[in-house]
Symmetry: C2
Subunit: 208 residues, 2 copies
Amino acid sequence: MTKETQKISQKVIPRLSRYYRILFEYSGRDMISSKELSDITGYTAAQVRKDLAYFGQFGCPGRGYNTVDLKNSIRKILGLDRTWNVALIGVGNLGMALLGYKGFKEQGFEIVAAFDTDPGKVGSSINNVEVFQTEKMCRVMTQKKIDIAVLTVPREAAQGMAEEAIRCGAKAILNFAPINLKLPDSVKVRNIDMSIEIENLSFLISRQ
Amino acid sequence: MTKETQKISQKVIPRLSRYYRILFEYSGRDMISSKELSDITGYTAAQVRKDLAYFGQFGCPGRGYNTVDLKNSIRKILGLDRTWNVALIGVGNLGMALLGYKGFKEQGFEIVAAFDTDPGKVGSSINNVEVFQTEKMCRVMTQKKIDIAVLTVPREAAQGMAEEAIRCGAKAILNFAPINLKLPDSVKVRNIDMSIEIENLSFLISRQ
DNA sequence: TAGATTGTTAATCGATTAACAATC
DNA sequence: TAGATTGTTAATCGATTAACAATC
């Protein structure tokens, strides 16, 4: 199997994101070794090297990885060498918070439109992002060249809104609704399910 | 290895949470089979049976699982048969949104105190939750018998606030800060890292 | 009874780790 | 050069799936 067709495990990508962040803190340094990345992240050094080796030969035997080069390489791998246009669907508590979330913008994810069914919200602007009615989704999303939809609607509305977002051109969905979206395989979905995470904690505490 | 000492993979628990949710929708039904749970969740039927079998024999060969009994069993396993006292540390955009998040309360996670360093926020109440200064953390958390801390502070403050929360009696932390907290192994931690999730999507779209 | 479906064991699959030749 | 550290292969570990006897 060649490098090009080799399947990359989904598990590698979050680790790449972590290496990438660490490299920002270490950009004053010239080189960093897999051993150091191991100490910081808690992954083994072998795993660090293997993760990076999926994508090319970035290191220098005996010396480690050049921090600036590796950072730039990972940036390209993760697709962070460009801006992504993001639409927020559902301007409730959580959606509102995400409009002000700096972590997205810092990495090039720009929320350029928001949608809600509430007429009281439609037409307003939050953090310089205009709220449109959901009926206008396709027109607005096409015009603003949306790549990713962030879904922060109630559970009951999530499947429908997800389908609509895809129909209107979104290629990926970051889903905060506690539901398993059924969408074509070509659509990329990541779920953030806060209840499931906190339930994990209650499980762990309970059985101590 | 007996059932009692058998190590349960961390991966099983989020799946249990999903079965649990599905059982609410199916509580009108008498029985549900692993095949049906498989169809709904996308996990294999064998996995569903194995996940449940870690914790006991809940099924009935030839008939499936009694929906009400299984729901109650999973509730106990996940520690959802009681109320958990939660403290919110960091009342920014995201923290504010979580104070209004219904998904926690529905499962028995009650946010009973919030903390912030901003004097403009201290003393106010949001969604009937009082905001205290962080200096009062130990006094308030002891008095309110806090089990879990939800950490929504900026990255720079996260490690310090996490340590303080543990010192003040929290047994688990739900961490939204984009940082790998270094805490004793006895402390249970789950991380929700929204930037890492959206970066996963940009990676996937980029390489299509 | 015959059909359905469990719980569990064995087989498979995939991911992590160890080891080491290559090389800076 | 000697020491350090990579990239990669082989070994190990753990999780998932298949298969099926038990049983409702």
